[in-house]
């Protein structure tokens, strides 16, 4: 069984990853829809911009986050004035870092699943008298659901593994920002902690695998349901 300290790390990691997915899901859905269904000037540029966190070194992403959201930045100072807390070096910073780094994966997964939905079905729905919002919720979303879930799980597991951007923007604070990779990193710097590292590694694998199995289960359930309806 995991020790209390290990539980703390695992629970924090899961909380941060889940919050990151929740935070980025709606913007990702919106952007993915725009990319999948609209054509406009500068679309390739927007797509490239969204993909940036995937191709940039995470440390650079972390540095940019620190520059624009850090304590001395305008947003950082406004946030402090508003809430009395600093953004950087907090659990919120971990969530932000994980959300930003996982964002391209989420957008891309959702975009591909939306592309898989025949737009003619949407046209038929519209011509039958249903508006764009109803059509999106009743037709597009359910048909794209497996891809949406896949994207969520992908960005969740990506968040579990986040290291570079988190290290720079959120620091390594026990109980607050020290999730799995940072805990492993910290242990590696302590002599004689091989067993502890291995335990954490196995727990990390177990957590990621559970997320993937959960997705497989959801997808199977969805398929079964839509098959029965």
């Amino acid at each position: 069984m995991p020790s209390a300290a290990e539980w703390q790390v695992l629970a924090l990691a899961a909380r941060i990853a889940a919050a990151a997915v929740l935070l980025s899901f709606l913007p990702a859905l919106l952007l993915a829809w725009v990319l999948a269904r609209r054509s406009f000037r500068g679309k390739a540029l927007l797509q490239g911009f969204i993909m940036l966190p995937l191709v940039m070194p995470p440390v650079v992403t972390g540095y940019l986050l620190l520059t624009f959201l850090g304590r001395s930045s305008f947003i950082g100072r406004s946030w402090f004035a508003l809430t009395g807390h600093h953004l950087a070096y907090s659990t919120t910073a971990c969530v932000l870092a994980a959300a930003v780094v996982g964002f391209p994966l989420l957008v891309e997964a959702i975009r591909l699943s939306l592309l898989g939905v025949d737009p003619r079905l949407e046209s038929v729905s519209r011509s039958l008298g249903r508006g764009p919002t109803f059509t999106f919720i009743r037709i597009t979303l359910p048909l794209a659901l497996p891809g949406l879930l896949g994207g969520a799980v992908l960005s969740f597991t990506r968040a579990l593994g986040e290291f570079g951007a988190t290290m720079i923007f959120a620091g390594n604070i026990e109980g607050e920002t020290r999730q799995i990779p940072l805990a492993v990193y910290t242990l590696l710097n302590l002599p004689g902690s091989e067993t502890a590292v291995m335990r954490l590694t196995l727990l990390s694998i177990a957590l990621s695998l559970s997320a993937l199995l959960f997705m497989a289960w959801l997808t199977a359930r969805h398929r079964q349901r839509s098959g029965r309806s």
């Binding site: 046209s123 039958l128 008298g129 249903r130 048909l143 839509s226 098959g227």
Partner: protein, 357 residues
Amino acid sequence: MIEVHLRQPLSEFELNVDFRSEAPVLGIFGRSGSGKSTLLHGVAGILRPKQERIVLNGIPLAQRPGGRRLAPEKRGLALIPQDPLLFPHLSTYANLVYAPGAKNVFHSERGRSILEVLRLDSLLQRNPESLSGGERQRVACGRALLAQPRMLLLDEPASSVDAELAREFLTLLLEAKRVLKVPMIFVTHRASELLALADDCLVLEKGRVVAQGPPVQVLARPTQIGIANLLGVDNLMRLPVLEHDPEGGISFFDLGGVALVAPLCAAAPGEEVDLGIYAEDLILCERKPEKISARNALPARISNLERIGNEFLVGLQIGRAELYSRVTPSARKEMDLKPGKELVVLIKTTACHLLNP
């Protein structure tokens, strides 16, 4: 009454149409790629043409540039796409009652007659994925009718099913027209569908309306070789009945001064009947053969000759009528076919199809 003006550049030409029609059922006829589906989608509002003016029963649906444009869901036009697209994640019943208010219609008198005409009762318990092409088409049609549209838009409704199912579906549409009295615009490349269903038709070629009028009139006079080609060079005619021979199972028609023998029909002598003969069913001979089953051996003169692909289209003057035959280059060479040549045309009685017996 519908009035449409629409301009939209397509990849090879510009769709530029301007028409109005008072007919309950308007057929849009043209070969694939003539812009007819684009036109239908423009009317449905799924497409945003560069320029459009669409008025349905006096209500403007779109006026651009410079005016409003109603979203597709506000137009009251239900589209039935080429493939019978049912929502795969919904049950057959949920598909049928998808439109706003469709549930109430479903349980009303009108709903009953829609289910009856389209024979949907037996399909209600079935999963959309287990339905055959023809059954899906019926559900898609029912779904559109239950939306209580002001007009039904059908995009080649029977093109995704085989010929027999297409005929069956056509019968259903005829029934829908007769019993449910829903105005329709439908797109097709089959002359038979046009003749059976449409009261008015447009012939579209390369994005332009090249002819408009009642189908028989438009199709019977292929004034341009283009239309003849579109028709698969069917010979379509409206001919007066001369007399009947019930024992022989034949009727005689006045083909521009020459008697044409066709299968026995019910129309009284003097009445007009629509007839169709495929161009490939006209056999050309140098002389009149003896003891032959074909009842028609008509003297003719070649009025024109045109190569279309791997065939020759032969225009024939028979009496005052003009018919078309199709021959291979080999036959043309051996018989030395050329404009002005006199010959005999053989047509089997059974090759003369009565279109509205």
